[in-house]
Amino acid sequence: MRRPAAILTLAIAMGAICPAVAQQPPPTNKETVEIGLSTDTISITSGFRGTDLTVFGALDNADPLIQRQGRYDIVVVLQGPERNFVVRRKDRFFGIWVNTESVSFQHIPASYSLASTRSLQDIATPKVFGQLSLGVNNIYYEPLPEGFGSSESLKEFTKELPRLKLKQQLYSQRMGDVQFLSSTLFRATLSLPANVPVGKHVARAFLFRNGEFLRESSTSLNIVKAGLEFRIYRAANQHSLLYGLFAVFLAVVTGWAGRLVFRKD
């Protein structure tokens, strides 16, 4: 039932590196950033315990001077499908811990893995990241219109959401895990946790120069689950009536078989 986790086959599609650095003097903002995956689908099996996903990319038309000074920065993000979440708080009620207050959020990325060349505050000002909604603390955690009691509780729970996600390892930020391998080629190491949600994930690369955001590029990745267990899971969700009847049938057969095997009457 369990297969080795390493079935993820992102085959290596090594393209030619184009050293297209023509001698164009001043015109800035020529730099481009590209990332890519050789496959658009990853299937993970039930034995999957989480892994690292390495994304390669290229920075083209870079200014050699700025590059030597190491003032290009890249942030790569892999963002999972958007879902609605409820954050709840327990309080003591006659000695018993009871879920009391809650806030509902919508369009929240179910997973979020970030890698950057340096720590975010060294790359640009918080304002820049805020405008880009980049980073666990800058994502816009949108509450459901009537999903919260007061603005105070909204503030409190908005702080807890990323903390809980980080604790579940569904969100992660890895500083220094984007590394330049040459003047143009870079490598980003992202985390795919064991509980990575299935669905469409978007990988985005953000290019910064001297603390200024230049451009981004993105590509998408589909994560699907494979194996018997996930076929069962799908059956339970898509054909729930048949699944329920089958569960009853199995129980009846087991009970009947047990009687047949062990009793003689």
Binding site: A13, G36, V87, L164, Q168, I232, Y233, G255
Partner: protein, 327 residues
């Protein structure tokens, strides 16, 4: 431009060879732990003649199975043990089909209401709490009563008297209710109102707690409806099979929380355990056996109660907003 991706596989955790992934509970568990859990509860149910659902669900919760899945799968598991029991009673003729069917009608209504409440509680985030509270109340009440009764019986035996169950009185308020119906197999003439209400109450508990409800049904039938003891067990099992089957299908369609893999492990363990339990049970003395079960029931209840009072590691929690599967 380079377009290239690479996967770096990690080494899987070793020493987890017996692990099996539960597709609905979404956790990896040890096959043998669950098999033995099923066998142990099956053993007890064979020994004491109880369904075992009221032990399985809390044990699963202790083993970190989400309560919603534990309840739904518990109901599924109960079908197996009840079905083989009901079949034996049917063959021996110790089953009142008419009374049982009426209880089923009540049970289906109760289970339907139970599922509705279950969904509501899950949306409110109070399901885990209510399930635990219900278990604490039922387990401590039943365990306490059983312990008291068995100690009394042991005292009487020591005093040289015969240990017999108290003879129920001839008539009570139940027999003054209208809409009476005659049940030939049970030799009773009773109003259908208490029958339907009793069935509905048991059905409700099957949905919310994942139990068969035999531990309430049997005494209620004896003391309230005055059904003769020889048909009580068979009729109760008959009702349990249908109501837990209905609850399982309802759980599967509304909450998608029935885990077939988990249920199979528990059922196979349970079927094996029940056979040995029944053999041992015939050799042991009734009162001592009941005292033992009572203490076990009380211990499980106590463990659940303690958990309600202990400060959680994290007072905040996050869940998917819709009632479709846990995250």
């Amino acid at each position: 431009m380079v377009v290239l991706g690479l996967y770096r596989g990690t080494v899987m955790g070793s020493g987890f060879k017996l692990g099996v992934y539960l597709p609905i509970a979404e956790i990896s568990v040890n096959i043998f732990v669950l098999f033995f859990m099923g066998a142990a509860v099956g053993f007890l149910s064979g020994m004491f003649g109880v369904g075992g659902g009221f032990l399985i669900t809390p044990l699963l919760i202790f083993y970190n199975i989400p309560p919603a899945v534990a309840v739904a799968t518990g109901a599924n598991q109960v079908i197996a043990s009840s079905f083989s029991g009901a079949l034996s009673h049917f063959k021996r003729g110790t089953l009142d089909v008419k009374l049982g069917s009426l209880l089923v009608i009540g049970g289906v209504i109760g289970a339907g209401v139970g599922i509705y409440v279950f969904v509501l509680l899950r949306q409110l985030g109070q399901l885990d709490l209510i399930v635990s509270l219900l278990y604490v109340v039922f387990l401590s009440t039943i365990g306490g009563l059983m312990l008291y009764e068995s100690i009394q019986a042991m005292r009487r035996t020591r005093a040289g008297q015969l240990a017999t169950l108290k003879k129920p009185g001839q008539h009570n308020w139940v027999h003054r209710l209208p809409f009476k119906m005659r049940f030939r197999a049970s030799k009773i003439y009773v109003s259908i109102i208490p029958v339907l209400v009793l069935g509905a109450a048991i059905g409700f508990l099957s949905s919310i707690m994942g139990v068969g409800g035999g531990f309430i049904m049997v005494p209620a039938m004896i003391y309230l409806l005055k059904v003769p003891t020889n048909v009580v067990i068979g009729t109760s099992l008959y009702q349990i099979v249908f109501v837990t089957a209905f609850a399982t299908v309802m759980q599967a369609t509304t909450n998608q929380s029935v885990d077939i893999v988990l249920a199979m492990l528990l059922m196979t363990g349970g079927v094996v355990g029940a056979q040995y339990g029944a053999r041992i049970g015939q050799k042991l003395r009734g009162e001592q056996l009941r005292a033992l079960l009572a203490m076990l029931v009380l211990a499980v209840g106590l463990r659940l109660a303690i958990e309600l009072f202990v400060t959680p590691d994290d007072i905040y929690s996050i869940t998917l907003a819709m009632a479709t599967g846990a995250s």
